[in-house]
């Protein structure tokens, strides 16, 4: 009984931290606009937290560049267990238009394990919410 109570709690209150590893901040403003009245995510219990210590879901945007790859790894390590990573935007999934530029590692998954990919340049706020809902379903099954 306790097991699925904890699982219910994890699904109902996924706290998010947002890390921008070299994105054009188109995806970042779409993440922030998911918090605002029109697409309010707080009704699912998603709160944007400041420190990685308090968060369970990391919304990572941008194709990782060499300078921010160590910071991305460090923020990921600071997050307490059970943690999940959502790659928001095509840059985070595969490096998108910047493929071949010298300062880019193609995508977030070259540094940290990623659970959900949300394509789109930038994905609409409802696409981001749909991505997080899929992540919650994934937690449901594990």
């Amino acid at each position: 009984m306790l097991k699925n109570l904890i699982k219910w709690a994890r699904i109902k209150s996924p706290w998010a931290v947002h890390f921008n590893s070299g994105s054009c901040n188109g995806c970042d403003i779409e993440i922030v606009s998911a918090l605002t009245p029109r697409f309010d995510v707080e009704r699912f219990g998603i709160v944007l937290k400041g420190t990685p210590r308090h968060a369970d879901v990391m919304l990572a945007t941008g194709a990782v560049n060499h300078h921010s790859k160590s910071r991305l790894k460090r923020v990921y390590d600071q997050m307490p267990e059970p943690k999940f990573v959502v790659a928001v935007g095509s840059c985070a999934c595969s490096g998108c238009v910047f493929r071949g530029c010298y300062n880019i590692l193609q995508g977030i998954d070259s540094v940290v394990p990623v659970d959900v990919y949300i394509p789109g340049c930038p994905p609409r706020p409802d696409a981001i919410i749909d991505g997080v809902v899929k992540l919650l379903k994934k937690i449901q099954e594990t």
Binding site: L5, I6, W8, A9, R10, K12, S13, W15, T36, P37, D40, E42, R43, G45, K49, G50, T51, R53, H54, D56, P80, E81, P82
Partner: protein, 312 residues
Amino acid sequence: MNELYKIFYLLIFPGFAFLVVYGLLLEWADRKIVARLQNRVGPPWFQPFADFIKLFAKEDITSEKADRFMFAAAPIIALAAVLTTVIFLPLTVPALFSFEGDVVVLAYLLTVPTFAIFLGGWYSVNYFASVGAMRATLLLFSYEVPLLMSLLGPAILAGSWSVSSILAFQANHDWIAVYQPIGFIVALVALVGKLERIPFDIPEAETEIVDGPFCEYTGRKLAIFRLMFDIELVIVASLISLFYLGGFSYGNIFLSALMFFVKTFAVVALVAAVKASFGRIRIDQMIGFCWKYLVPAAVLQYLLIAAAKIWM
């Protein structure tokens, strides 16, 4: 029978279980009102419960440079202090202990959490935490004096230092808020400072120093700290209604219980409205505001009481 009643009093009704549940419900009410004022939908009713259980199930990290014992002890001290205040407060049923001077004990117990936050922040050896801890203590000096003065006003009027007798005084006269409107306002503003709510939530100013003293806390310790804040909300809201709004001991049990919920909810709604309509002011402005306006208002209130006592 008396022992069993005490245990029931401490653990179930106005004690631990009731406070936890009601605290979390009040946190939900607060977040929902603020969200609705910002015309957002706001979280479902079970949100604080889900947050609490999830935090308990999370991994508990203590940074290796932090002092293990104090880092773990701080949240427990804070929670213990806030929970012991319930012994003196006559919530619907008469208080367990009530002696002359329990107002002062109450005030002391309510400042212990601030010191616990300071210790927690200081021992987690993180920049943001240490600056947040410093700010928490700085804040203490600014709102503590007006809060105490506004609590002592009714005590003087009722001529006694115990909460229950202040309550009795209000039973046969009408509410103290009618006699002391200025004291009531000063109490409310100091209350917002006490709970570290916007516009005075300077210690954990989210955009400046990343959750202040709590930024190193995770899992259980963070859950306890958040629970402490919720219970403190309940305690201070009932304190205000006890001192100024005539408390809750009416004839039968149901009417007083109903009045308890109505009054505390009213205070929380007011605080939430304040949170939705103000920005966060700086620490020096806060201290200036408290000492320039709140303390003189409280002193003025004393003069009025003294004058009233002489003529009455």
